[in-house]
Point group: none
Chain length 195, copies 4
Amino acid sequence: MSQRDTILRVATRLFADKGFERTSVRKIAEEADLSVPGMFHYFPSKEEILNEIMIGFMDEGYTRLMDIYTSDVDPVEKLEAVCTFYVEHYAGHKDQLTILISEGKSLSLEHQQAFIDKKRVYVEALKRLFDDLAKGGLLKPIDPSVLAFIFFGMVHWTYSWYNPRGEIGPEVLGKIFSEVFIRGALKDQEGDKPR
Amino acid sequence: MSQRDTILRVATRLFADKGFERTSVRKIAEEADLSVPGMFHYFPSKEEILNEIMIGFMDEGYTRLMDIYTSDVDPVEKLEAVCTFYVEHYAGHKDQLTILISEGKSLSLEHQQAFIDKKRVYVEALKRLFDDLAKGGLLKPIDPSVLAFIFFGMVHWTYSWYNPRGEIGPEVLGKIFSEVFIRGALKDQEGDKPR
Amino acid sequence: MSQRDTILRVATRLFADKGFERTSVRKIAEEADLSVPGMFHYFPSKEEILNEIMIGFMDEGYTRLMDIYTSDVDPVEKLEAVCTFYVEHYAGHKDQLTILISEGKSLSLEHQQAFIDKKRVYVEALKRLFDDLAKGGLLKPIDPSVLAFIFFGMVHWTYSWYNPRGEIGPEVLGKIFSEVFIRGALKDQEGDKPR
Amino acid sequence: MSQRDTILRVATRLFADKGFERTSVRKIAEEADLSVPGMFHYFPSKEEILNEIMIGFMDEGYTRLMDIYTSDVDPVEKLEAVCTFYVEHYAGHKDQLTILISEGKSLSLEHQQAFIDKKRVYVEALKRLFDDLAKGGLLKPIDPSVLAFIFFGMVHWTYSWYNPRGEIGPEVLGKIFSEVFIRGALKDQEGDKPR
DNA sequence: TATGAATGAGGGTTCATTCAT
DNA sequence: TATGAATGAACCCTCATTCAT
């Protein structure tokens, strides 16, 4: 593993554990077994490390999400696939997810803007999926943006509680998410009618 | 408004806007129109201000949540009431919600523990509600903890997108949340069956 | 006991225990059961408290020392009396002795000068006693100033080790001091001759 | 001279002149011609500078004292050698001696303990010398601890008055100390007997 | 490539003291 | 007489970053 990657790996762990501001460059350098100026050789600033972690993590998922969105299955299946993807992707990268959620404000203003733009892409893609569902008459008459944010809340919140090595594996959790999001937490009752 | 409350109000805004670590006590004092030692006259440390904001905000909601939990209505109605409560409570206190979600690690270790304990109370209360639903045979066979975390993800995530003064008012959003969480985002389809 | 005396008593203990600079006026006021401005009502400054403790303690002993110096006994007996006096005086006021030795530099420049002047009086008085001994041919040909400082070193150093409630009482220690100072720590040996 | 040594030298003078608490790190850095963080590059804290000064000074004398204690001369000569050593050692390092006596309480609790332990070593070594003298029947029946503290009072007190560049040189003072401590300040008188 | 040394800026906190009431 | 409130000044220390070598 290159020294550059070591720095990224160490910084990811530290930023997730203690937060960006409470992590000193000295600590990063120490744990990466480098001198501080040695670290600055690979990154022009501490903030650039954070940026690379965040952008890199988002980009990683982008292609696979696009694959799902452009795949030739019906929208409901796509939604289920997105659920599974997010849970698995996030479960395997808890530190990155934590940073993504917690450290947006630690970025420089320029990077913050780019970050926001990138997030919007994800929301828009999901909204388009809901539009497709709506066109098919499958969706309740709910603002697709709101649905997207409900969805993201559900999957992102895993950062605060989900242990992928616990009793519930990522695959199972993915199925639970899609079930609850699509059909709700409650059983269909006899005589129950859509409002 | 007392000086003490002014400090809390100012600090809440600053912590939510820029983050705890990026907010200096000088800035807080300035905006509260006090000298720095004047601020320390009311709070023993910057961290105690944060703690008071967080704990205070959680405690504020506690009584009203308990009212809902102990009220004499059926569990589904309780769940709907909880949805409405959270959306309205959080919508009216976006800064506090942002701090609650983002600044847990900025607390001292002692306060972190107390904070975690307090959060657990909320999760446990919601889990008990799900247990009641399960006893009534109303709930899908899903781990009530997972349901609780899905629910919290949905409502807490509002901090990142929801503008209560926008097109969708808190009451409407509350109804959307309970509808989606209880019955899902998709219309019931003819012949549709729970898996 | 008047509040003024309470302040002096509390401050004496704190200054001796932790040092003048490490004792805050708030701490003094707290332990004297007063508000801080209440304390400043009795003393114009923290430094004045220290000064009063130091000067007060020195003056206390002054009259009794003068009594010894002007008493109608031979010089050797005077020296023994001085030994006993110092040990007993210091043993009964360890905190004051500690402050006297340790906190001279904490005084204001004016008070430092007065303090030095006062100390000089003690040295001069002792030197006069040695002059008397020298005139009687009793003293070794040693600079009386040096003898005075040896003497003061011996008695003042008690602050660092002597516990008057231990095995060796102040009276016994006084006798040891005069014996060692006057005739030395070693036994006279047969055939031993004065150099 | 290395920057590190410069810092130690400057700090020693300042601590002795004005006291540890009244010496700011900024002042030390200024006089050592460094920025404040530059100073912290060499020492982790102000207190560590103090500790290094104190421990360093004590350790410096240790070897030479041990040489004396283990040398092959009779105990009385050893005592005289110790006198001479202390006077010369202290005369050449007045600032260090002043700090040793005055700033024990400025150390952290851990360092205070180590400091006390180290001091005990010196007292114990001197006590062993007195034990040897007692075994040879040379010593008056006085607790050797008390003798040790009398001795240390005599030599340590020099910090408050002795100017090695004055009329009385260190060698002469060393002889005076041993003469007074061993045989007393007064001439032996005809027919005089030890009490 | 690599690093010991250095720093300007700023961090949170404490201090003795004063003042309005 | 008594005190809650307030402050200017200074405290020790840490930071990300740079530079000389």
